[in-house]
Assembly symmetry: C2
Homo-oligomer: 672 residues x 2
Amino acid sequence: MSIHKLFYPEGVVVIGSMAEGKIGHEIALQIRRGGYEKLFAVNPKAQGVHSVPGYDAVSKIGHPVDLAVIATPPSTVARVMEECGRAGIKAAAIITAGFAEVGNHEGQTEIKNVAGQYGIRFIGPNCAGFVNSSIRLCPTLETRPPAGKVGFITQSGAVGGVFLGMAKEEGLGISKFINYGNGADLNELDLLQYYIDNPETEVVCLYMESVSDGRAFMKIACECTRKKPLIVMKSGRTSSGMRAALSHTSSLAGSDDVFDSCLKQCGAIRVFSIEEMFDLGKGFAILPPLSGKKVAIVTNSGGPAILAADKAEEMDLDVMEPGKSIKEELSGFLPGHCATSNPIDLTVEGNENGYRNTLQTVLKEYDAVLALNITTPYLDSIPLAKGIAEASKQSDKPVLTSFLPRYLVSEAVNFLERQGIPNYYTAERAVTVISHMANQREAMQLCDPDMEESTLPGTSPMLEPEAVAWLVENNIPVPENRFADDMDETLKACQEIGYPVVMKVVSKDIVHKTDSGGVVLDIKNEDAASSAFNNIKQAAADKDFRGVIIYPYIKGGREVLVGISSDPQFGPVVVFGMGGIYTEIFRDISMRVAPVNVAEAKIMVRETKLFKLLKGARGEKPVDIKALAELISTVSQLPFQYPDLDEMDLNPVFMFQEGLLVGDVRVIRKNK
Amino acid sequence: MSIHKLFYPEGVVVIGSMAEGKIGHEIALQIRRGGYEKLFAVNPKAQGVHSVPGYDAVSKIGHPVDLAVIATPPSTVARVMEECGRAGIKAAAIITAGFAEVGNHEGQTEIKNVAGQYGIRFIGPNCAGFVNSSIRLCPTLETRPPAGKVGFITQSGAVGGVFLGMAKEEGLGISKFINYGNGADLNELDLLQYYIDNPETEVVCLYMESVSDGRAFMKIACECTRKKPLIVMKSGRTSSGMRAALSHTSSLAGSDDVFDSCLKQCGAIRVFSIEEMFDLGKGFAILPPLSGKKVAIVTNSGGPAILAADKAEEMDLDVMEPGKSIKEELSGFLPGHCATSNPIDLTVEGNENGYRNTLQTVLKEYDAVLALNITTPYLDSIPLAKGIAEASKQSDKPVLTSFLPRYLVSEAVNFLERQGIPNYYTAERAVTVISHMANQREAMQLCDPDMEESTLPGTSPMLEPEAVAWLVENNIPVPENRFADDMDETLKACQEIGYPVVMKVVSKDIVHKTDSGGVVLDIKNEDAASSAFNNIKQAAADKDFRGVIIYPYIKGGREVLVGISSDPQFGPVVVFGMGGIYTEIFRDISMRVAPVNVAEAKIMVRETKLFKLLKGARGEKPVDIKALAELISTVSQLPFQYPDLDEMDLNPVFMFQEGLLVGDVRVIRKNK
């Protein structure tokens, strides 16, 4: 398996100029300094560097070589790859830039073809290389990080460089780092798949700017989160280009929202800055698992602790006061001027014993403890760190710290981190880590739609009576209805349904029925029905008038929207939210990559603010959430059953205490 | 003026033990190390420290002394203050803790009384002292910062300590720092007032946990922002205690929301973390003013620039592409592989010339430039810094940088900051600074209500006909209406108003009219009116039934809410938002400390999401925003005209294309 050969090669050759200042030279030096031994250089001058021997051809090395690190000019790369292939090399890191990223797609295709011919797997071109700490192999221009448990995959070399710089500065250990650059061969999917089973990697951080295959990504991401935490940062989230080609229901759903939904479904954690990714990677690498949301804040000063408590409450952690017995225990050993509510303030007099005893006590009741120490030049922080570390060692719960100001506490912070206690630059950042850990959810089993495929019935565009019949066929509840194309039938139909009724025009030509006088609500009697029919018919005089559809007039239900849209990366997406004009203003919607089961659909409903209303705000009766979740799940499967279904809106769906009814439906077929 | 004596004393005495490890000792050393010369120590042993002479009484010093720094045990502080007073000292910093913060209010009052008697102004007790860089005076236990332009005021010593630690680490200059602790005498109001006219302070940072007098704070804050930027961090924003004692309209308005509104009105900038305050203080201290929202991002690597662009777009900055001529100019000197859209990517080959020329070019079109440099161990960042600095020098627009990874760029960063270019830890943090600078608005002139006071008319609680008449008296538009207390009058009134009408019960006892069958909508004819009257009367059978009030039935208006609530710190507050059940769910409200003029009221309306609907979303006609702003302004003055008005809801207010009508009113008087 060649990805494994990439990370664990039997020998490495750097191909490129070894002249000072050249990239080949820098990389060879970096690898050698990193401690990897079986290293060779190849270039036309057969030049080596330091103790690295140089050859003028790969074939002349005379030692097994599995990995080629290529830093030759772009026009030569294909030829170099061919030479590697003939020499039996199965893995390559192509550092050289100047391919697809500057429009040179032919060059990139050529490389790919050669690689395919010889069975070479490679990263790049246009990449910053990789790091495998377990064998001290660092074919990269970026910072060499300490060894550890965090696996990092990045599309951008620079983001990788910043992360590795932070890792070096803060002493965070990295198991593997890789930058796949243009991703001509190996991309985020292959690499994530590899990290899942890599035993040295206990948490995966992934930075990406684009998803190569949405559904394949989901599958692998779900597999990952069942084994280890996955932290994802995706940029390019606002560019207007990302939102193109999506309409109506989709217009609520910039594809970044879909990506966001995908991560939720996978149980992955999304972050929005390198610092946040770093903080969280450090937390997961060092801390034991968190089992709840109860957080105690132990401090020696008020202000920063209040800031932490504010942030914790905002992030939905539970900063509850200690129970009576814990409070009593605290009062037993703390001086009277200490606050024993939460935050627990030991004041500037807080010492080693105070921190140790307080932590030991609150760890009995809370799920995690954040210990703050804001010091001044005349105080020593080491004893406090010792007290905290001792208490932490006796517990299997997460203990985090924020010691400040930084320039006064570096020794104490090093001590803490050696003891398995991550320290954060501010208390708020520590709180963010706890919150992410607490909100981590299990990956949903991605439903695998395996159903008989069929074709949407009816005309194009689908007429309302056809659409309604099709909904019924698929077990989606609609109100009783009748189609009628003349006055007699219309009055008969109204009679059968029972007044008050609603009458709507049926016409291929009329899309906005309400605007064009094609809808009459609350028709109370035969007179009104008769004039409604005449008015609708007249309004459609020069259109393709087929008749009218009649429903009972429904009042009092809570109105929601359920829809399907299609994302270019992820395919069918199911959307739930508030119907009507407010939808666009408040964007109170939730979405998922389709299909979803009923359990996931319930989570979707609970995610919206609207949920407060549906479950019965202000003393009103709750609506039938179960029926709603079933509808969402059913709807989410339709695009798989009917592959020609592109978009659909059920809007409004009337929600009742028992059951629901779809008030209007719009179906869009795929363009063939 | 004693605050001035505090900051600029003629001589300083530290009163407290000079034994090693004691606070008095540490402070005396700190002052001496800071470089202040005229320093004396007083304690029973007449002990000095290093070159600081010791005396056993203040009166024996024999040199003018204006400031006493007191670090004696709490029980002795009043006596020490008395001694100081007798010796003619007019300013004190009481470091000693153990007063109001631990319940010792008597002790604190005693100190205050002594101070009052001798005309001493003081900070503390329970404070960390202060710094006045301009005379190198540092009576504090916290870090001594470099001298500069940022003035800092803090209620929390620890937050101050963290800020000063950052200032030292990053070389940010501080003009004055002060921690007022318990604020028994000098508090945020006095100190802010002093900083306004302090010429060395060019930007003010303020951390507070409570406001001592909301309206006084607003007045001073407005005065400050007309002269220099004011950056405020207030914590304690989530604690449930802050939200107590507020009801209904007020229940939308935790007093933290009111504080937020106050800052908007004052043109102050609110931040939520010490890092953000620091970043912004640095920006304002160093950068020239920003005149617009157009930001160019110049980079040598893609990923971090995309992250910056995402953040900028989210923060409402304009990351537009360069115009045609600028693009042509860029293409004239940049290599073909560089991206000339925005971000402008010079790639890893970006050098001194590239950065200089690019910045010079884009500074012609953009309001600010953010220059990124993500480097690797083998590259030198100094030339890039030079190129950026040269371009910046030729422009009067803000140029910010983010050079990373930090451990590789410290020399370049020092160079940049010496050249007046602030560097930020991440590009996103730099973007946040630009956004805050761009969104800074001018302080509103706080309206000074100067009107004849009068008393609310009618009974208590106010009956609807009384309330409606009172609204009319105050030029607030209500629909035509009639009061009737028997069937004949009712039918006559309905006739006069014209069907369809609305009928509502009038009763002192019935608060929730709808719930108790006291409201009938859409009454279409005399029959319906007659039965409505009977039903309402019957429903109120065992209540204080006074009659009914009749309005026309209004349809089709957009419904909003305008209200008054009362904040414990700021007094009357005016609230605008969406009416009905959605108010509480979406919290789409805006508020201001009352009164507001029409211009400010318009800003309030524009702040809500609802505004999109009001101005005519989806092709609908816009409603009368001018009338709405006039209503909000009128309503905001009522609490000053009627001091016994506590709360009021106008809900719904029906908005039309022209004009508006108040649909329902509820008035609550103050408890006497």
